[in-house]
């Protein structure tokens, strides 16, 4: 029996016999959670220390030690600048650029679920946690709808997007007075609302996403480039598709904090589209897209802070500006490339090669 089946079964049996038997298990999980959270808070303290030094060296007001929320916003922004293009590169080249939008809307539903539960049951759960859970379930539904009904991916995305937004608005309308005020920050993002708890959740998401991509990048690349050949080579295409959409859900929810539901998908797509214009290889495009995203995030946060405007919108506008520049550079590269096309080697019947025009 596999561990993931055995554990819940054991818990159910214990609970049926005597609920008090579950307490050590719950205590153990709680202690592990506290330990992880403690480590993340320690990391945040080190980050504050680093930002303090940046302030002393540069004198930049937005990293003033009094503004810890800005330190956290910059950390979250930098993490998004790595996670989003890392996943977006695979999505864009699978022509799934809009899946981020669909999952952002279900993330919104997840936030509404969290706020609703907190308002009604006083659970005190972070809306970002409920958003992660709802978005990941929705991500699996997108894959499931495509697999079961043979529908195009954009059909399943549209269904999940609409359902997510409908669920979110319904839950908000059920308790409008208490929820409407809090929802704006999730719709449009806000630099000042990145709490230590939210930053810690994002760091966990960051570790999971980067670690998973590092281990599965070969399979994800093969499935992205040639799904049939990947299947023939023994790769479980459906399984890796599910991994990809679940990672996307994590990125979307993580980025929602400062980007907002409405603009979060842009970070998955725009830096990747820019990198595609100027990169010659896949590994180069991954690197370039991360650099472009970080540039957009840092410039965007800076402009938002000093200009007193919403960070999400500025970050996207900066990213689009960078994309336009990348298109221009890409066209220049193409013109230069056409002038330096090399000769092609051709094949002899015995499998050896000779040089010359093809």
């Amino acid at each position: 029996m596999s561990a993931d089946v055995a554990a819940p079964l054991l818990a159910n049996v214990l609970a049926a016999l005597d609920p008090s038997l579950l307490l050590p298990l719950q205590n153990g999980l709680g202690a592990a959670g506290d330990l992880v959270f403690g480590v993340l808070l320690w990391f945040l303290e080190q980050w504050y220390w680093l930002m303090d030094w940046v302030y002393y060296f540069t004198g930049l007001e937005m990293v003033n030690p009094r503004y810890r929320f800005m330190h956290r916003a910059i950390l979250v922004g930098l993490c998004i600048g790595v996670m989003a293009p890392l996943i977006g590169t695979f999505l864009v080249h699978r022509q799934l650029a809009l899946i981020g939008d669909a999952l952002a809307h279900t993330g919104f539903a997840g936030v509404a679920v969290g706020l609703f539960l907190n308002a009604v049951l006083d659970l005190g759960v972070s809306p970002y946690l409920t958003a992660v859970v709802v978005a990941m379930i929705a991500a699996l539904f997108i894959e499931l709808i495509s697999e079961v009904t043979d529908a195009y991916n954009d059909v399943s995305m549209a269904i999940v997007l609409s359902t997510g937004f409908a669920l979110g608005t319904t839950l908000i309308s059920l308790n409008a007075g208490g929820l409407a005020v809090g929802v704006n920050q999730f719709l449009f993002g806000n630099l000042s609302t990145v709490s230590p708890q939210s930053a810690a959740i994002l760091l966990v998401l960051f570790a999971v996403i980067v670690g998973t991509v590092a281990v599965t990048r070969n399979q994800l690349l093969y499935v992205t480039f040639d799904e049939t050949a990947a299947a023939v080579s023994g790769i479980s295409v459906n399984w890796y598709n599910r991994v990809m959409v679940m990672l996307t859900a994590m990125v979307v929810v993580g980025a929602m904090q400062i980007m907002g539901v409405i603009l979060v998908a842009a970070m998955l797509v725009v830096p990747v589209a820019g990198a595609t214009q100027v990169s010659r290889s896949f590994s180069e495009s991954l690197l370039v897209s991360v650099v472009l995203a970080e540039l957009a995030v840092l410039l965007g946060i800076g402009v938002a802070y000093y200009g007193g405007v919403t960070a999400g919108g500025v970050i996207v506008l900066v990213a689009v500006g960078i994309y336009v520049c990348a298109v221009a550079v890409g066209k220049l590269q193409s013109v230069r490339g056409e002038q330096t096309t090399p000769d092609m080697g051709s094949i002899e019947a015995d499998g050896t090669t000779r040089t010359g025009d093809d």
Binding site: H93, N218, A229, A231, G345
Partner: protein, 291 residues
Amino acid sequence: MSADDTGPATADATAGEPVVELADVTFGYTATPVVENVSLTVDPGEYVAIVGPNGSGKSTLMQLLLGLLEPDAGRAHLFGERADRFDDGERIGYVAQRANAAKEMPITVREVVKMGRFAHVGLDRLRDDDGSVVEDLRDDPLDTVRDIANAVSGRLSASDWAAVDDALETVGMNAFADRRITELSGGQRQRAFIARALASEADLLVLDEPTVGVDAESVDAFYDLLAALNAEGITVLLIEHDLGAVVEHADRVVCLNREVYFDGPTDEFVESDALARAFGTEARFLAEVDG
């Protein structure tokens, strides 16, 4: 024999067995079968072409024999194992029709060919063929850590990169190894995909109408390469609409239109009436019409 029958478990145990074995295979996407009672055996080293009119079930048959579809009836085996459970992916090289994948994807020829090695990397590299832990891991702790890290991260070894370089050399694509695949012509692109199959050290090369959209000069070079690879012992299974190319290059022809109309040597196929029966009475070889 039922669809649940399973062949021998290991590749070693299948030595000398057919590379592909279909027995009374029937499959349909709806109630109407696309492929019906098809039996086909391909032995190691053969060069077999599957021909048939549009909609005759050629590509479906290819997916059945590769294990991408499960037969409604009959059985499909690859190297002696049930095709849909076959997990020795590096033994198969697959080249699709107009293998163009994502249109604007920035990926070099070398990165495409590198994919042929992906089936060789991973945790399986830590085990010998008999399933035991490889010798190096037992001896040197530092090697152990390094090898486990490489296996988990899917990092390619020096021998993997050598296989990639050899494959590029064989298809004459060295000069283009670092160019974007989207900058290549159709013929050049197909060479890159052949190189990917070679890099995986495949025993079986399956090609689904690989020369569609490829210029005539490149088509000739492409078939020369296939002939050379077949001469080296690689089994070639070609699905092709170009009957002239089939007659010129393949040793054996399977003519399909839902069921098998002909299965035999190419010269016998030319003399037979299978083409007319499978394609309709108006179908003729161009050479015959010209003559």
